[in-house]
């Protein structure tokens, strides 16, 4: 039916190709949708973000180009294509040219291990999650390449900050995923989704609905926001700071490629979050399983994107040292406690006990760590006196 329409389409098209090149055609037919769908989603997200931010700020977003502004990405693409490509004279031209390309290539690779629907995964690797994180780390290299090649001390500073931020936030990201891997017992993304496929009553078996899964999901999403340099962690690309970021010397289309890479990274990490915690392509309620699986995946992806936009519109930026302190002194211990709590959940028998133990571990850890954060940053509620 509708759920397997793309799989059937692919097999039908394969039937028309000669047997000799069938493997190549099969690969092509698998990759092509990824290369088409996600950039279109990127274009849609740029419009959605601007309109969403506009509505949050009580104004219209772009609404001149196309129906309700939907063709705005066309205008933006045209603008960035026709801009002059300026490369500084003293820049390292090869590295300068390669940086956005590497970012782009690396941004597309993680989509290979995300199960977008039932039987719809590009590469069913046994160590899918490991592959994802390995590839994700390469994108940090391209950020540093961009900052280094511009031969500009500000962009170098921005690049170093960005790399430091990304490396620090890899750790809570990985630790929260380890909790899920422990609970599922496998590194394969397809296995993890399958483990979350059942229902108890009307509640799905998603990991986000367990105490450790909920906290793990929150940590994962915070780390994901930091990984993709989105607000409130966007100091490396801060507009109102003096250092405008590692892509300060890029103009025109290469700038657009950086944005494409960043947003694709956002989709990839959200996709992994959905796979690990939100049950992948599974339906949330037992009577909704007739809706095709890939629609659920994209609906959840849209929900997470809306979450990103919402957080961006609300929160100011964190300073660099506060960012790093938050990663190492709050999120890392919290992620460790999540792993311990997941272990307790796995090995205690089903029932109220394991809920209580898990939640208690997490609550105590949160209380202690939160107090640490507040005292270190000297955050306190203040009262003011008045003179008559």
């Amino acid at each position: 039916m509708l759920d397997q329409v793309f799989v059937s389409l692919k097999h039908w098209l394969l039937g028309y190709s000669p047997a000799a090149i069938q493997p190549a055609v099969s690969i092509l037919l698998t990759i092509l949708p990824i290369l088409l769908v996600f950039p279109v989603l990127f274009a849609l997200t740029t419009v959605l973000e601007r309109k969403g931010l506009g509505r949050i700020q009580n104004r219209y977003g772009p609404n001149r180009v196309g129906f309700y502004g939907i063709l705005q990405p066309m205008a933006d693409a045209l603008k960035s294509l026709t801009k002059e490509d300026i490369v500084p004279a003293s820049a390292d031209h090869t590295v300068h040219f390669l940086a956005p390309l590497i970012l782009l290539a690396v941004a597309f690779l993680p989509f290979a291990v995300l199960p977008i629907g039932r039987n719809m995964i590009a590469a069913n690797l046994d160590a899918g999650v490991l592959f994802f994180f390995a590839i994700g780390a390469i994108s940090e290299l391209s950020v540093f390449m961009a900052g280094w090649s511009s031969r500009n001390k500000y962009s170098l500073l921005g690049a170093m900050r960005a790399v430091a931020q990304m490396i620090s936030y890899e750790v809570p990201l990985l630790l929260s995923s380890i909790a899920v891997i422990m609970a599922a017992g496998s590194l394969s993304t397809v296995e993890i989704v399958n483990k979350q496929a059942g229902f108890s009553g009307i509640f799905p078996h998603w990991y986000v609905l367990t105490p450790w899964g909920f906290v793990g999901f929150v940590l994962f999403m915070i780390a994901a926001t930091a990984e993709t340099n989105r607000s409130p962690f966007d100091l490396p690309e801060g507009e109102s700071e003096i250092i405008a970021g590692y892509y300060i010397e890029y103009s025109g289309f290469k700038f657009a490629l950086f944005f494409l890479g960043e947003y694709l990274g956002m989709f990839a990490i959200s996709g992994l979050g959905i796979t690990l915690f939100l049950g992948g392509w599974g339906a949330p309620l037992p009577f909704l399983t007739w809706v095709p699986s890939w629609i659920w995946f994209f609906a959840k992806l849209l929900g997470l994107i809306i979450g990103f936009i919402w957080v961006r519109g609300t929160l100011p930026r964190l300073r660099m040292d506060q960012l790093m302190n938050f990663a190492w002194k709050f999120m890392l211990p919290m992620a460790l406690v999540v792993v311990v709590s997941a272990g307790a959940w796995r090995f205690l028998p089903q029932g109220v006990t394991r809920w209580l133990v898990s939640t208690l571990l997490l609550a105590v850890a949160y209380g202690l760590l939160a107090r640490g954060v507040e005292s270190r940053n000297k955050i306190a509620k203040r009262t003011y006196r008045f003179a008559e």
């Binding site: 969403g52 509505r55 949050i56 009580n58 104004r59 219209y60 919402w310 949160y366 939160a370």
Partner: protein
Amino acid sequence: MLGLGILKGLVETARNFLGSYIDKERLVTVQFPEERLPVAEAARNFPFLIYDGVDPEQGLRCVACQICEKECPPRCITIEKSKDKKPDFVGKQQFYPAVFDIDVSVCMSCQICVEVCPFDAIRMDNEFELSTTDRFGGLLWTKEKLARPNEHYEAIHPTEAAEVEARRAEEKAQADAKKQPSTVTQ
């Protein structure tokens, strides 16, 4: 609890997001130039000269007393008196301006010229879409460009115009009464 303030902030933003669809009060954007805001009655932009009747030359109220030229803070008004005189609305012979130029690129819309004019001859217009591509004189307005009929004044500032009319009618009545000697002394 750490994070509670952030959550409250997120709730507030969500309320504004949803409210901008539901509540007309929240989404205050006026999509210029398709929609326009109503202009306040007192709004002022650049001056204009009033003439009564239909002939801008004959009905111009300005008598070239040059008070506005003296009081204008950035000195953007240039006036040259005429050599001959013409009658004003009460019949007295008055000079009129041969040249009345306002350099609108200098004018700061302060309205002092309007306040000090004793003859209700210069008032503030509220038109603001005035850009021109002529950089060598497009913003130096001469008497012809500045003259507008009294009906225009009544249309844009009705309350003020009513007061001015009432006062001028009274002055005219007094002047007419002085011209006709009264029947009692006859």
